[in-house]
């Protein structure tokens, strides 16, 4: 028998387009909150990894905010060496199972992929998820040594930035304590992203992995309220603090009727479902009242999460209303397609102007104007202009506002000398992520405003490096 150098060489077909992600049937999945994507099996992953051109200059890496050596881990998959693939991935990105699921790959790594020019790009996200899920199925290795550094570090907020920062510091031997204001850790990964996209079990696994590294999690503590930031240094003896408090403050439109019953911020809507498990009411105590017709305003990932959650909560008609056009939509393209498959209707170039209610204060409709695209505005996108006399009303029972969030001012307001921009973001030194306060670092949405999980993870990682350097240098 001839020597087989790699069994993938015997595979009969080289696909030209992306290996499709196996996913649950749309009618089925719109009934529950279980995960939509089923994940690649080993054969899918081998097929897909084999599509990688092994470019001399792997440009995909340039598209990645944390510079994952993508071609290296893809080659490791193609060679059947999953432990190596996992180790490459995890060194570069501490949250691969999460990012593989929620990163907007089509505007990052996969956008740059040379294959994308003629065929579909290599499915980097699906492969990342595959490797991370494989890693999770493996038995745990020996438990790592307990922290050996003397300087203790506090992390404020347990979202992606905080988790990554805590993990990186723990690997350097620091005892790390993560403070979370809610009763369960994870930040936006817990309260914001629904389980049909990111199951809680994955988040729990990542958090358990950090606990194994010696990271301590303390829930139900609001830094700035329960403990002042200064007291973390003075009374609790921490040597450095990382702030990853995210951008959790919902924006409202300022149109009449926003306080009617049946109007929710996407944050409230999703928090009730994801964190408080309202879909299990009355087994879980927190309710969420969802009518037959739900309109979600906005076009980002949160809007997609909200509208698809509305479907799962029993809405027969779930619609997205957005004042710009499809081209300006900011959601991941996969979520958009999933939403369409699940029966969500999209109303582009439609600007909500008033929420209409009945005498008892309940929503009955959403008054809107049709728009057309005009000259580009300051963001470079075509400015939507109202079409005169185009006013009409969507008859709806609920309106969910998903028009963005801003950093929560709570900590900055209660901490003297912690500088913020006028829009609320924390001011940081770009190189180190240090704030206007010495030994206080920050990263993620609290600094950038609402962005992506991977950017927050990257910021947490580089702040951890800066903290380690500053502490070692005794600065």
């Amino acid at each position: 028998m001839p020597a087989v150098r790699g069994w993938y060489e015997l595979m009969p077909v080289k696909r030209t387009d992306k290996t499709p992600m196996p996913q649950r049937d749309a009618t089925d999945r719109a009934q529950d909150f279980d995960e939509v994507n089923e994940g690649y099996c080993f054969a899918h992953a081998m097929f897909e990894a084999e599509r990688c051109l092994r470019c001399q200059d792997p440009v995909c890496m340039e598209g990645c905010p944390v510079r994952i050596p993508i071609s290296d881990f893809v080659h490791a998959i193609a060679a059947g060496d999953l432990p190596r693939a996992a180790s490459i991935l995890r060194t570069a990105n501490p949250l691969p199972a999460i990012c593989g699921r929620v990163c907007p790959q089509e505007s990052q790594c996969e956008l740059k992929c040379h294959m994308a020019k003629r065929f579909g790009p290599v499915a980097v996200g699906h492969l990342e998820r595959f490797v991370a899920d494989w890693e999770r199925s493996q038995p745990l290795g020996e438990s790592p040594p307990p922290p050996w550094q003397s300087a203790r570090i506090a992390v404020v907020g347990s979202g992606p930035a905080g988790l990554v920062c805590a993990g990186q510091l723990a690997r350097q031997g620091y005892p790390v304590t993560v403070y979370e204001a809610l009763h369960a850790p994870g930040g936006v990964l817990r309260y914001g992203i629904p389980e049909f996209r990111l199951p809680n079990a994955i988040l729990d696994w990542e958090i358990d992995a950090l606990k194994r590294l010696g990271v301590e999690f303390i829930n139900n503590v609001i830094i700035g309220k329960t403990i002042a930031l200064d007291d973390l240094f003075d009374r609790h003896g921490f040597s450095a603090v990382f702030i990853g408090t995210g951008a959790g403050l919902p924006k409202f439109l300022g149109i009449p009727g926003e306080n009617l019953n049946g109007v929710y911020s996407a944050n409230e809507f999703l928090t009730r479902i994801n964190l408080m498990q309202a879909f299990q009411f009355p087994e879980a105590d927190t309710p969420l009242k969802v009518g037959k017709r739900v309109a979600v305003i906005g076009s980002g990932n949160t809007a997609m999460d909200a509208v698809r959650s509305a479907r799962r909560m029993g809405a027969e008609q779930a619609l997205v209303v957005y004042r710009r056009s499809e081209a300006e939509m900011t959601a991941r393209v996969e979520e958009y397609h999933h939403a369409i498959e699940e029966g969500v209707k999209f109303h582009w170039l439609t600007n909500p102007v008033e929420v209409i209610g009945d005498d008892d204060g309940w929503v009955t409709g959403l008054k809107s104007l049709r728009m057309e695209l005009g000259e580009p505005d300051e963001s470079g996108r075509a400015r939507p202009v109202p079409i005169e006399g185009s006013e009409f009303v969507f008859p709806v029972d609920n309106v969910v506002l998903s028009i963005g969030t801003t950093p929560n001012p709570l900590l900055a307001k209660t901490t003297p000398g912690l500088a913020t921009h006028s829009w609320g973001g924390l001011v940081v030194d770009e190189q180190k992520g240090e704030t206007s306060r010495r030994r206080v670092y920050a990263g993620g949405d609290a600094v950038t405003g609402a962005a992506t999980v991977i950017l927050a993870a990257g910021a947490g990682k580089s702040a951890a490096e800066a903290i380690h350097q500053d502490l070692s240098a005794g600065l």
Partner: protein
């Protein structure tokens, strides 16, 4: 964590819990509140901090058993047990300014949260008129505690079984008659009571602060569920409040928003009562829940 060190039952529905959480007790100020969860599947419910003791490391909560969660608390929160979660202190502390004469008005359960403010005013040397109202004399609690920080105490009961017969607004009218120089009224109680208190003081142009209790989830400004209209502006009660100028608050909107999960609340309570009855009878819970 969050161990219950003491409990006192004021009536069939009202009870006090003293909860151990030293870090929170140290940070708490009058007017602030906490969010409490009874168990992992529980709701997050806001409760005003009625008192706190740094020495004992505790905060005091006064609870009225009206819905599923609070009925469950009445049943399960015994000395030695612990709450699943307590977080805070949330909200802005009450502004206890330099005042010569104030009236502190508490209606029913509202007597508890207005007490620390009355005490704070007293400590700052103000002449404090306490006005507390209950449905009947059996529901009265903290009368002595209140009397100890008030220069005058007016008790009002709906049926006249104690104090004057009438609502706290009658007490306010009486107080204003005797003391036209009241500089500020602090009124805490059910929204409809606070609404009428604000109406009672408006013609006299007496600044009236109220403490609002809308439905909220996180309590840190994240969900916006607690939004209220104050002077025509949208405010988040959890971070901007809970104290607001009563003359500016849209109480009708607040009351409408408080009722938005009424059906679900009733369903949850009925289901719980059914299961509770089964439990008491030694039967399995009803399969329909």
């Amino acid at each position: 964590m969050y161990k219950i060190l003491a409990r006192e039952d004021f009536s069939d529905v009202t009870f006090l819990l003293e909860v151990h959480y030293p870090m929170l007790a140290k940070a708490a100020k009058p007017g602030q509140f906490v969010i409490v969860m009874v168990h992992a599947d529980g709701e997050r419910i806001p409760l005003t901090i009625a008192d706190f003791s740094i020495e004992r490391g505790t905060i005091t909560l006064v609870v009225q058993a009206v819905g599923k969660t609070t009925r469950e608390m009445q049943q399960t929160c015994k000395v030695g047990t612990a709450l699943y979660a307590v977080v805070g202190p949330m909200g802005m502390p009450s502004h206890v300014g330099e005042r010569k004469k104030v009236a502190c008005v508490g209606g029913g359960l509202g007597v508890a949260p207005v007490y620390p403010q009355a005490r704070a005013f007293k400590q700052r040397g103000a002449y404090v008129i306490g006005i507390i109202g209950f449905r009947n004399k059996d529901l009265i609690f903290w009368e002595d505690k209140f009397a100890s920080v008030c220069d005058e105490l007016i008790i009002c009961t709906d049926d006249g079984s104690a104090g004057i017969k009438g609502l706290v607004t009658d007490g306010i009218a009486k107080a204003i008659e005797v003391h036209p120089d009241i500089e500020e009224v602090i009124a805490i109680g059910p929204p409809v009571m606070m609404k009428f208190c604000a109406d009672a003081t408006r013609p006299h142009d007496i600044k009236t602060m109220v403490s609002l209790n809308p439905i909220m989830v996180d309590g840190t400004g994240m969900c916006g569920g607690c939004r209220v209209s104050v002077g025509g502006e949208m405010k988040f009660c959890c971070v901007d409040g809970p104290d607001f100028d009563g003359h500016q608050v849209d109480f009708d909107e607040l009351m409408s928003r408080l009722a938005r999960f009424k059906g679900e609340e009733r369903e949850a309570l009925e289901r719980w009562t059914r299961n509770e009855n089964c439990r008491l009878m030694g039967e399995e819970p009803h399969p329909s829940g």
